[in-house]
Symmetry: C2
Subunit: 299 residues, 2 copies
């Protein structure tokens, strides 16, 4: 069976056709412009392939993933201009006349890592992306994390030492929440240059300290068996080791587990699927939608 997958990001969309990392028949990336133009471009890409059984979408958010809700498949309160209250899933389902599965970009990436990557066999784990914004998802007890809505790791509150970092934060809703302090947009605004141009070690030490606070809070809340951290900001090679060290410092020996100490290199890890975790997970979302559509939904 062949599926379509979309990683619908706030900056770019990645669309793929195939069934997994060893069977990616076609993949395309284009910038996120207006909803109408972007959705049409994705629909065009898939419309040329008559073999698809379903399409999976991992979308930036917040989104409505509540089955039966009148706004299921919509992006809801995003501050991204033009994208609030945008239907994605039904637009594509109607354009392509195919079943469409819909979840957050981070849940899709988590699903990809669970099927083929760094989270195979785990029941409870998280996937965090640190890019333009910060998002988080994962699985709890073997199923993707859904609840009242879906996880929004980026909007938790973390300590902000204004003596060390007087920067106010960039979140339009909460100012200095986790995303407001530690996202790519926050780094850019704080230091006045794009993250990829920043080499001062103070930049990355501060970033690591914020990321560690966010990760520690996720550990305290969910107790994941592993945390996968992806996203463009993590391309900075010094960052992941700094984050690991800081998490163990913050844990201070409280957690009776080697994963929060000497084994942390296997606990906080990069995605095994790299930047393709999201779009591959979207293919898996599509597969599950078809193979499980008559039984209890797994996602």
């Amino acid at each position: 069976m062949t599926y379509g997958g979309i990683e619908a990001g706030g900056t770019k969309w990645v669309c793929a056709i195939g069934s997994g990392p060893d069977d990616l028949r076609d993949i395309v990336t284009f910038p996120t412009t207006t909803p109408k133009e972007t959705i049409a471009r994705a629909a065009d890409f898939f419309a040329n392939d008559g073999s698809l059984a379903a399409v999976g979408i991992g979308s930036f958010g917040p989104i409505d993933i509540q089955r039966g809700s009148p706004t299921w498949g919509h992006i809801t309160t995003t501050p991204k201009p033009g994208w609030a209250d945008t239907d994605i899933a039904l637009s594509l389902a109607n354009a392509l006349d195919l079943p469409v599965a819909f979840d957050t970009d981070v849940n899709a990436a988590a699903l990809g890592e669970h099927r083929w990557g760094a989270a195979i066999g785990l029941e409870t784990f998280c996937y965090i992306t640190v890019g333009t914004g910060i998002g988080g998802g994962g699985m709890a007890n073997g199923k993707l994390m859904h609840g009242l809505l879906h996880p929004e790791f980026g909007h938790m509150r973390i300590p902000h030492d204004r003596a060390r970092d007087p920067f106010d934060g960039v979140c339009p809703y909460h100012r200095d929440c986790f995303e407001g302090l530690a996202s790519g947009d926050a780094i850019h605004a704080r230091w006045g240059r794009p993250p990829e141009q920043l080499t001062d070690e103070r930049v990355w030490k501060l970033e690591a300290d914020y990321l560690a606070l966010g990760l520690l809070n996720v550990i305290c809340t969910l107790s994941p068996q592993r945390i996968v951290v992806g996203g463009g900001i993590m391309h900075e090679p010094s960052l992941l080791p700094l984050v690991r060290r800081r998490v163990t410092e913050l844990a201070s020996g409280y957690f009776d587990a080697p994963e929060l100490g000497e084994a942390i290199d296997d606990y906080i890890v990069a995605p095994a699927l790299g930047d393709r975790a999201g779009v591959l997970g979207a293919l898996e979302l599509a597969r599950l939608a078809v193979t499980e559509h008559s039984s209890e939904p797994r996602t």
Copy 2:
């Protein structure tokens, strides 16, 4: 069938015999002294009843709930004097020659609320206790929250405005973590008097603001369908309404759900089972251990 239940707290143990809130045949409360004395007292209470099918324990922690671990059933790194590395579950199983189920006090309370109380029918919800310390647990996707270890809501880090609250915090591991700032011990140490003697509204406004930060972080991480907040500190009647109001303020309209706005009174709630949620949940832990022991463990 009749079961034994223990809410094994750091201050007191509550032991009950029965099968639910309408069938509590015997219940006893005694102070937590030394492990040997406390465990023996519980064993004596149950030993007189020959009808028990199993005993369930909801324990203060951190504890080892990993099936197959050599220290399963132990309290691990607790700072409580004399109680670190204490076997509870096997001691009782051997003393009583009965199957014993073992989980955190907050997961037990969550289970009680799920069976008989404020969380009936929910798949993903949290139970938070605010007492001497702060603990949290719940269910994710229909099962109790387990992972690498178990949730430790109390040790997440939250913003601490030292200009408003110069108090250093009381957590021996992390100083001003959530528990270090907002537990009953923290309130007592900050204001110099036991919480039940404090009537100044500044006390409860500050407490509500900290609790709201902790709850918001749980909402961002897990997206629970409801949060049940119990524990002795919540007996202060002004507190829950203040917490609800502050959570909606912190959310700032970001979450597209009435539960984070006008419907918050049904979202952040007191335990329907009151202070018996823990011991009743422990009875349910015991029941599940017997009725599900040959199949996939539900807890």
